[in-house]
């Protein structure tokens, strides 16, 4: 009888601290999780806005109507341009006939969609998005494209044509790499 009591006491004396340790350990784990869990919390920056950087401001010839097309009508006949815009060589989708697939000829400062909707010059993603839906979705989610400015308040987003040449997009983007840093020279790892 007595030995059983002692036995119980021993069992309790071992179990209690162990369970206490377990409980404490559990709490500690919750307070300081090893894994960076993505907790659902109220966004600390509800005032976050995203602005599209104006593309037209970067084009010296814009506004086109004011500078040239005021009395010169754009010709939509597919041809090789020899007089003006000679740098443009159309190498895009086969469904693109000529300028008027994207540019609104009545007012060349604007784009037009396939259904005839007129789109401001700075919203090229709406034009490109007609075919490149998936990329445009990624762009609007912030997965694709240049986002600068602030992660907290106002982000500046670049539209498609800021990086991609819409007339010949397949040429891709090639840049000159900056010099090899000293510690990366040779076969040193």
């Amino acid at each position: 009888m007595r030995s059983r009591v002692i036995h119980r006491f021993i069992v309790l004396s071992v179990l209690l601290p162990t369970s206490a340790l377990l409980v404490l350990g559990g709490c500690k784990h919750e307070q300081n999780p090893l894994r960076p869990e993505l907790r659902e919390v109220q966004s600390p920056n509800p005032g976050r806005t995203i602005e599209i950087v104006s593309r037209s401001a970067e084009i010296p010839d814009y506004p086109c109507v004011e500078q040239c097309h005021v009395d010169r009508e754009a010709d939509a006949t597919p041809r090789r341009l020899t007089e003006l815009h000679t740098d443009i060589e159309l190498d895009h989708a086969e469904v693109m006939s000529f300028c008027d697939t994207c540019h609104y000829l009545e007012n060349i400062d604007e784009f037009q969609l396939i259904d005839g909707t007129r789109v401001p010059f700075d919203e090229s993603h709406r034009v490109c998005g007609q075919c490149h839906g998936e990329k445009t979705r990624d762009w609007s989610l912030g997965i694709h494209g240049i986002y600068t400015g602030s992660w907290q308040t106002t982000a500046h987003r670049r539209s498609c044509t800021a990086c991609h040449d819409p007339h010949a997009p397949l040429e891709g983007i090639h840049l000159q790499a900056l010099p090899v840093p000293a510690d990366a020279r040779g076969d040193e790892g």
Binding site: P44, L141, G142, I143, I173, L178, P181, E188
Partner: protein, 331 residues
């Protein structure tokens, strides 16, 4: 024979018991015994105390003599033990040091972690062209040494197998090259950071917003952290960092881009002085193709969260169990 042995043992016994009670009571009899006693009484504590005093005296001497570290610098406390007043004094001293040495007016700030913010970084490997713009923008922002040249970011050129062992570090010319991927590697700000565990003096730690920082005044330069890091993200100043006064970025943070000295370790800190003010890291701003994304991991509406939830994510050396805050993704 036995007698000789006993005598020898006795001799040895006498020699190795300098702190015998009789001897200490009666006082040292010979200079040799006195020395032995002195050695016995010189415990670890007294030794450390004495050497600290000696070091202090030397420090004071050098400070007054040839522009070495000042007395306060030697006895500066760990960053976490500093009060706001202490910080003001230290920052003012550091600013004055830069002014005296380089003739540049700099401001040293100490922005604190923002409540509810844990930073994360995502890099689009499909887009990165390997142009190294981020690398140089980082050096400019963070006042890293120009000679010897030090960069926090290393861009690896990989082929389709994505085997890092075969990575090319010294590619040049027009990029991207055909069939190549580019993977810039910098500090991953691991949740389970091996460098923090390795540091014997707590000179590096993880802040509440996830940024792993270094107190350059507390670092002893043992380079254990550099060895522990699986991403080769840490850099050591083998010599005094050189930077021309015109290149010094005057907007500095105590735990980030203030000027370092020889013998300390430094690394990427997500541009702590910028991001805690709401700005993006300098490398992101410099990226010409938008491959870099930065944001708050705790904000469900952030672009970063959308990338992590929808994108195809690659965690570099995931098997190391470091739980990095830096993610690579493909689109």
């Amino acid at each position: 024979m036995l007698k000789t042995l006993r005598r020898r043992l006795n001799v040895i016994g006498e020699g190795t018991a300098p702190a015998a009670p009789e001897a200490s009571d009666q006082g040292p009899e010979t200079p040799a015994l006195a020395e032995a006693m002195g050695r016995a009484q010189l415990t670890r504590r007294t030794f450390l105390e004495r050497s600290a005093v000696t070091a202090g005296v030397t420090a004071a001497a050098t400070a007054s003599g040839c522009g070495g570290p000042a007395w306060e610098e030697y006895f500066q406390q760990h960053y976490k033990r500093l009060s706001d007043e202490d910080k003001q004094v230290i920052f003012a001293r550091l600013e004055a040091n830069v002014k005296a040495r380089h003739g540049v007016d700099v401001t040293i700030n100490d922005p604190q972690p923002i409540e509810g913010v844990e930073f994360g970084y995502a890099l689009n490997v499909s887009t990165c062209t390997g142009c190294r713009q981020c690398e140089y923008a980082c050096a400019e922002e963070n006042n890293t040494s120009r000679d010897p040249e030090m960069h926090y970011i290393r861009v690896l050129e990989l082929d389709r197998t994505f085997n890092v062992m075969d990575a090319v570090h010294d590619y040049d010319g027009q990029v991207p090259r055909d069939g190549k991927f580019y993977m810039p590697v910098q500090c991953h700000h691991c949740e389970n950071a091996p460098c923090v565990t390795a540091c014997p003096v707590n000179a590096t730690w993880r802040e509440d917003d996830g940024i792993v920082v270094v107190d350059y005044d507390w670092c002893i330069g043992c380079r254990y952290c550099e060895t522990a890091c699986p991403y080769d993200a840490r850099r050591f100043n083998f010599s005094e960092p050189n930077i021309s006064p015109a290149d010094i970025n005057p907007n500095q943070g105590y735990l980030s881009n203030r000027l370092r000295k020889a013998g300390v370790v430094e690394k990427c800190h997500f541009c702590l002085h910028r991001v805690r003010e709401g700005l993006n890291p300098a490398c992101l701003e410099a990226c010409p193709v938008g491959a870099r994304k930065f944001g708050n991991l705790l904000d469900p509406d952030s672009e970063l969260r959308r990338i992590l939830e929808n994108g195809r994510i690659y965690i570099f050396k995931e098997e190391q169990g470091t739980l990095p805050r830096f993610f690579y993704y493909f689109d």
